[in-house]
């Protein structure tokens, strides 16, 4: 199964609230991770985002489901700022997974 989540339709062109992102992840991403072969997070049209939102959206998903979740996640339409934030959230998530494995 392939799923696409259009973030502009969900939140508008600016992503600022980490609590909203965490809620969205738990309701709209987490339940489908084991089911979908491909889950597209479509950032097309997103003008601004901050670390609060993107970290809550992605770092937590990687921490919860492990590095393997990156096999099914596709990041579509990121502008250069959003791309930096997504790369950083992935990095944070992987660090958390690594820290948990060491512990």
């Amino acid at each position: 199964m392939k799923m696409e989540l259009n973030l502009v339709e969900e939140f508008g062109p600016r992503l600022a609230d980490g609590e909203q992102a965490a809620e969205f992840r738990m309701g709209r991403i987490d339940p489908y991770v084991g089911i979908c072969e491909e889950m597209v997070l479509n950032f097309t049209g997103i003008r601004n985002a901050n670390s609060s939102f993107i970290n809550a959206l992605l770092a937590g998903a990687i921490e919860q489901h492990g590095e393997g979740v990156l096999q099914c996640l596709v990041f579509k339409g990121c502008n250069p700022v959003v791309r930096v934030l997504v790369e950083s959230a992935i990095s944070l998530g992987l660090d958390k997974v690594a820290g948990r494995e060491i512990a």
Partner: protein, 208 residues
């Protein structure tokens, strides 16, 4: 521009202030886009802090000096302050630090008073990193503590004079517009220097 109360949508507040500061910057290709993006980022991250853990009222303000190209952003709240936020979050070291040391902790990556799953302690850290990358100045006042970052320097730590105390948190950033040309590059450098982004081949699957 008028002082704004941080009592409505953070993203809307950030948009209003950034638009006022950098007219036209909403358009990604506009010459003011980098300043718009930096202002929006700083205001939304700091306003998230105000809403999520200060438990007080917040105010935001911005100022530009066109002749000097100087930009100032400020956000203040009358909440419980940084040290008390750490205490309330149950961080074991929080009872052993003073206000200024608590501010320094807040400038350190991955130390958060907000708990999960929010920003994992990168809000104020990244704001200070962005200001450093923009060769700017940062002032943080909370409780009796004062921390000032100047371009290229180590943090200057002091206390408010005459036993004065500010029961909340004030953050002021100032920088010259000429140092803010590409926000994505500033953000990337700030993340790398804070240890929040590794320089390695991307493992994410990106598509246009």
């Amino acid at each position: 521009m008028p002082v704004q109360l941080v009592d409505h949508d953070v993203e809307k507040m950030g948009q209003e202030l950034a638009s006022c500061l950098a007219p036209g910057g909403e358009d990604y290709d506009h010459p003011h886009a980098a300043l718009y993006d930096l202002a929006w980022y700083v205001f939304t991250e700091m306003a998230n802090n105000v809403r999520q853990h200060s438990r007080g009222l917040g105010y935001a303000a911005a100022q530009t000096m066109r002749s000097e190209g100087l930009v100032r952003l400020a956000i203040a709240d009358n909440g419980k302050g940084i040290r008390q936020s750490f205490v309330d979050a149950g961080l074991p070291w929080s009872h052993d630090v003073n206000d200024a040391e608590a501010i320094l902790k807040a400038l350190t990556s991955k130390i958060s008073s907000k708990g999960r799953p929010t920003n994992e302690g990168v809000g104020l850290t990244l704001v200070s990193g962005l200001v450093k990358q923009a060769h700017g100045w940062l002032l943080v006042v909370s409780g009796r503590g004062v921390v000032i970052l100047k371009p290229g320097g180590e943090p200057n730590v002091s206390v408010l004079p005459s036993g004065a105390s500010f029961d909340g948190t004030l953050v002021v950033a100032a920088f010259r517009q000429q140092h803010v040309k590409n926000f994505a590059d500033l953000l990337h450098e700030a993340k790398v220097k804070a240890g929040l982004l590794q320089i390695r081949p991307s493992v994410g699957n990106f598509k246009t």
